[in-house]
Structures are given as C-alpha cells and as structure tokens.
C-alpha cells in the first residue's frame, strides 16, 4: 500500500474551559507518506503537541478526520483506537518514557507482548530492532544504565517494533546534547528511509533540517510549509 500512512483532513480541536472555548487546532490538513519525515515547528502554544496527540489517537478532534494506514480513527470505539495505537503507532517523547524496571530488550518487546506475541519471538524481534539502532550490546541493560541518547534510541526501536509504520516524536532531542541529538536523528532517519513515516515536533531548526518537509503551525493553523526538494546543488551557486 503506497497511500499515506497518516492523513489529517480539516482537523479541528476546540477545548472548552468554562465559558471560554480555545481552538487549539483550527482546520489542519496533513498527509505523511511512507519514507517521509515531516517536521512541525511553531511557537509554544501554537498547537504542535495537540496536532501530535490527535494524529496518534491520544486526543479526539472536534471536527475533521484522522486516518492511520487507511483506517478512520473517528469510526472506531475506544478499545479499537487503543488497539490501533498499540499496533500501528509509535511515540517518542523528550523524556524517553521507558519502563525503568524493564531492560532495553523488554521495553522494546513490550508492545508485541501486549499484542499477544510469545515472549521468545517478542524478544528476538526486540533484539533485532535494537541492533538496527546500534544497541544490540545493550539489550539486557536497564534504562538507568544507559545514556540519554541510548535511551532515546531504545525508544525509537520500541516505537517502530512489529508492523508499526508511524512514529510520532515530540521534541525527541530536547534533553540531549548536540552530538547525541544527531546520533538519535540518524537512527530515526534510517528507520524512516526503511519505509516508516514520521512526524517530528521540534524547536530546533537544525534538527528539523533532517525532515523532508517542515510545516509551520501558528494559532492552530498551518501557515506555511517548505516546498519539496529540488537539486540542492542549485543552492550552492553553480560554478561550471
């Protein structure tokens, strides 16, 4: 299937706070293809996090539709949404969100086990996923025995374990230094290039540069987006 992995159509999210209603998202449309990473930038409170929450089924839009791999979230009951989240969507957060009492491999295997996979097959899939993010040797370490960058790479391995093809990353480099951030982005980018789709919320332009496109959000709307690539050599002022 080569359609978009994620498709938001005219998504609106209004929060009611007493008399006042706040439009966190005011008609956002976005689609992300396999192999594509889209960065989301915008000032604090512009709606970036709401966008990610709605895209991942953690929040429900008040209007518009969200589609993950062709499945409309709006047509599902809460249990079905929970299953879809577990099976199709991976999250990466600033603070890694690993289970501290589980090893790296157990953390990565967890979504598979929750989905009913056997312990042994889940473990071997987890070890393979850790290998892809360069952490095979750390499989049996606990989160507190890993550096921040390593924990985030575990989180990326977990986010894309099994058949999941959508990763939603909220400031994944927020707690990391520059070199470690690049290492994490390399891993994320490699997983995207292998066919996943991703949304990357970030404040850092230098990290958004790793995405295929950047969309700019302000007051709950998309105000602009970078165009598709053309030949970057043109940027460099032809010398021939």
């Amino acid at each position: 299937m080569s359609g978009p992995v994620l498709r938001l159509t005219d998504v609106e999210r209004v929060y009611q706070a007493g008399e006042v209603s706040v439009r966190a998202l005011a008609g956002v449309s976005l689609s992300v293809r396999p192999g594509e990473l889209v960065a989301v930038m915008g000032p604090s409170g512009s709606g970036k996090s709401t966008l990610l929450a709605v895209a991942g089924g953690l929040d429900t839009p008040t209007a518009g539709s969200v589609e993950v791999e062709g499945v409309q979230l709006g047509g599902l009951d809460p249990t079905a949404v929970a299953h879809l989240r577990r099976d199709r969507i991976g999250y990466v957060f600033q603070d890694y969100n690993l289970v501290t009492d589980l090893t790296a491999a157990e953390n990565v295997a967890l979504p598979l086990e929750l989905a009913g996979a056997g312990v042994r097959s889940a473990r071997s899939a987890a070890v393979a996923a850790l290998e892809e993010v360069g952490l095979a040797a750390e499989a049996d370490r606990f989160p507190d025995q890993l550096s921040g960058g390593q924990q985030q790479r575990v989180a990326i391995a977990r986010a894309l374990i099994g058949g999941r093809r959508l990763v939603l990353a909220d400031e994944p480099t927020g707690a990391l230094d520059s070199q470690t951030s690049i290492a994490v982005l390399k891993v994320l980018r490699a997983r995207i290039d292998a066919g996943a789709a991703g949304v990357l919320v970030t404040h850092e332009a230098r990290y958004a540069g790793w995405a295929d496109r950047t969309i700019f959000v302000r007051d709950g709307r998309l105000v602009d987006a970078t165009p598709e690539r053309d030949d970057p050599r043109r940027l460099l002022g032809e010398s021939s």
Binding site: K186, E204, A205, G209, R221, D224, R229
Partner: protein, 197 residues
C-alpha cells in the same frame, strides 16, 4: 564571494606544493564542493595578482608544458598571518535580510509575521537541502567541504533564531503601541488562511 577571500583561498592551496592555474580551479571546487562559485577567469586574474605581489612565483613548466607556480617565503608568511588574524566586523558583508527586517519592523503597515514567515520557510528549505548534503558526506569526504556545510547550517540556524526574535520583539512593541489603520502590505495569503494575532 569576496575577492580577498578568493585570493587567500587560492594562496592556501599552494601550501602543499606547486600548482598550475587550472589545477587551482579544480582543487578549489573540490574542497568547497562547488559551494563557492569562482569562474576560471577569476582564478587566473587572482593568480596574476598573487604573482605580481610576490606571494607566488613561477617555477617553470611541468611535463605537460603548463606553467607552474609555487608559494614564496613572503606568501607563506602572509598566509600564516591571515590564519591568525580574526575576521573583523567590517569585513563581513552587509545583510539585505537584516536591513529588510529592520525597516519592516518600524513600518506599522507591514505585516511583520508574514515577512518573517516567508523568510523562515525559505531558510528552512535551505536548511533541509544543506542537511541532505551533510548527511551524505561521510568520514572519507573532504574535511573542508563538511566544515563549509556545517558553516552554512549553523548560519541558517542562527538566522532562523534571529527571525523568531525579530518577529516576537516587533509584535510585542506593536501590541504596546497599536498601528494606525489597516495593513497596507501583505495581501498575499500563504496556506489556507493567515493566522492573525
């Protein structure tokens, strides 16, 4: 690219041995990944000046009959001096963007958010494209080239930060002192519709 920068760049190429004119062009291109367009005429003119000023001197021809030049003692000293002399503010080119925004900021009829967003999108597009090149550059690639790419990337990062700052500062000022009358510029509608503050 400024003339003096080309001159120093070419002189630096002589550090590892004698060269002929066209070779300078090839090596300069290779080291800078073609990022600094220097035409062949400019290379020869600069080489003539370096020879005239005594920083390089002809040292005969190679087996293909090309005229070879080598750096002189004076040239080597000049190059060493260049390396340890910081680039001062007055050497930097003036930025059209800085002037544009500084002017736009004080004109209450200009939609500063739109002006900034247009630039931000373009800067981010460049950032993406340079990052593509940087990602492709491996450890085996020329160090000069990867550092030049990093220079461009860090430059864009600071430009985007400055854009955010300029926008926020201008809007805060305008909020304190609202503009007279409706907006004159910025009738263009970027994506679905403009977010208004």
């Amino acid at each position: 690219m400024q003339r003096t920068a080309v001159r120093w760049g070419l002189l630096a190429l002589f550090a590892d041995g004698p060269k002929y004119g066209y070779q300078l062009r090839t090596e300069f291109d290779a080291r800078t990944g073609g990022s600094w367009a220097v035409n062949v005429g400019q290379i020869y003119t600069t080489l003539d000046r370096l020879a005239r000023d005594g920083d390089v001197a002809p040292v005969g021809t190679n087996e293909d009959g090309r005229e070879m030049f080598a750096i002189t003692e004076q040239g080597r000293r000049a190059l060493e001096g260049w390396y340890v002399t910081p680039i001062t503010e007055t050497d930097r080119p003036r930025s059209e963007l800085a002037i544009k925004l500084a002017m736009a900021a004080v004109d209450p009829h200009v939609d500063i958010a739109l002006v900034v967003q247009k630039q931000r999108t373009e800067s981010m597009r460049q950032m993406r494209d340079y990052t593509d090149l940087r990602r492709r550059a491996g450890a085996e690639d020329d160090l000069t080239w990867t550092l030049l790419l990093d220079h461009l990337i860090f430059g864009l990062e600071s430009e985007i930060r400055w854009l955010d700052h300029a926008e926020a500062t201008t809007l805060r000022r305008r909020h304190d002192r609202p503009p007279p009358g409706p907006s004159r510029v910025a009738t263009e509608q970027p994506m679905p519709e403009r977010a208004r503050r």
